[in-house]
C-alpha cells in the first residue's frame, strides 16, 4: 500500500467555485501534513502545513486533517484563474516526506 494516495485526475472549475482536493495516507503515525502548489514549469512551493486534526485557514485556503480516517483535504474558496496549478499533498512520517501524485486544477474565467 502506498504511503499517500492522491487521485491525480485533472479538475476544471469556473472562477469563483470552491475547489476540493484530498489525499489518504496509510500510517497513523504520520504527523505533519502539507500541501504544495506547483505552477507550470516551476518547482513546487509550500502552500500550507498542519500537524493536528482539524482545520487550518490561510486566506482563501483551508487545510483539513482527519487523523481517525487518515484523510487530508485542501479547499480553495472563491477560486481564481491564478489558482490554476498542480496541488500535491505531502506527509511527513517514517523519516521521510511522501508526496501524492498531484492534482492539476484549472480555473476557467
Amino acid at each position: 500500500q502506498k504511503e499517500v494516495e492522491q487521485d491525480p485526475g485533472p479538475l476544471s472549475v469556473p472562477e469563483g467555485a470552491i475547489v476540493s482536493l484530498n489525499c489518504t495516507y496509510s500510517n497513523s503515525a504520520f504527523q505533519y501534513f502539507m500541501w504544495y502548489r506547483q505552477y507550470s514549469r516551476k518547482g513546487p512551493e509550500l502552500l500550507m502545513y498542519t500537524y493536528s486534526s482539524g482545520n487550518k485557514e490561510d486566506g482563501r485556503f483551508t487545510a483539513q486533517v482527519d487523523k481517525s480516517s487518515k484523510y487530508i483535504s485542501l479547499f480553495i474558496r472563491d477560486s481564481q484563474p491564478s489558482d490554476s496549478a498542480t496541488y500535491l499533498c505531502a506527509i511527513r512520517g517514517n523519516n521521510r516526506l511522501a508526496f501524492g501524485k498531484g492534482n492539476q486544477v484549472v480555473v476557467i474565467p
Binding site: 502539507m34 518547482g43 509550500l46 508526496f99
Partner: protein
C-alpha cells in the same frame, strides 16, 4: 527570499554520456534533496544529504550518484545516461528541523532528455 537554483532548465544528452546536474541554495540549509518527477508517478526521491559529505539513498538511487562538497551545493550525477532517465529533476533544500523537515524549498527544475 529562499533561493534554490539549478544549473540548467533544459538539457539534452546522448545515451551513455555522464551528466552533471548542479543545485545551489543560499539559505544555509543543512538538508538537500534530489527528486525526479514523471507524469503518473509523482515526485520520487533519488538521494538526499543532511550535511556536507553526507548522503543517503532515497527510493530510486539506481543509476545515480551525488556529491556534496560544500553546504550550499548538491550535485546529481548520471554516470551513464539512459533513455529511462529522461525526466524533470527537482532539487530542494530545507532546514534541519528533523531530517525530513516539512519545509522543503524547490528549485525550478531541469528538464533532461536523453536520446
Amino acid at each position: 527570499d529562499v533561493k534554490v537554483t539549478q544549473s540548467s532548465r533544459y538539457l539534452v544528452k546522448r545515451t551513455g554520456e555522464k551528466v552533471f546536474l548542479e543545485c545551489v541554495q543560499d539559505m544555509d540549509h543543512e538538508n538537500m534533496f534530489w527528486y525526479r518527477q514523471d507524469p503518473g508517478l509523482g515526485l520520487r526521491l533519488i538521494y538526499f544529504s543532511y550535511d556536507v559529505k553526507m548522503k543517503e539513498k532515497g527510493d530510486i538511487p539506481e543509476g545515480y550518484s551525488v556529491s556534496r562538497e560544500k553546504k550550499e551545493r548538491f550535485s546529481l550525477i548520471l554516470e551513464s545516461a539512459s533513455t529511462n532517465q529522461t525526466s524533470m529533476y527537482l532539487c530542494a533544500s530545507g532546514p534541519n528541523t528533523g531530517i525530513f523537515s516539512y519545509e522543503q524549498y524547490f528549485g525550478p527544475g531541469t528538464r533532461l532528455t536523453v536520446t
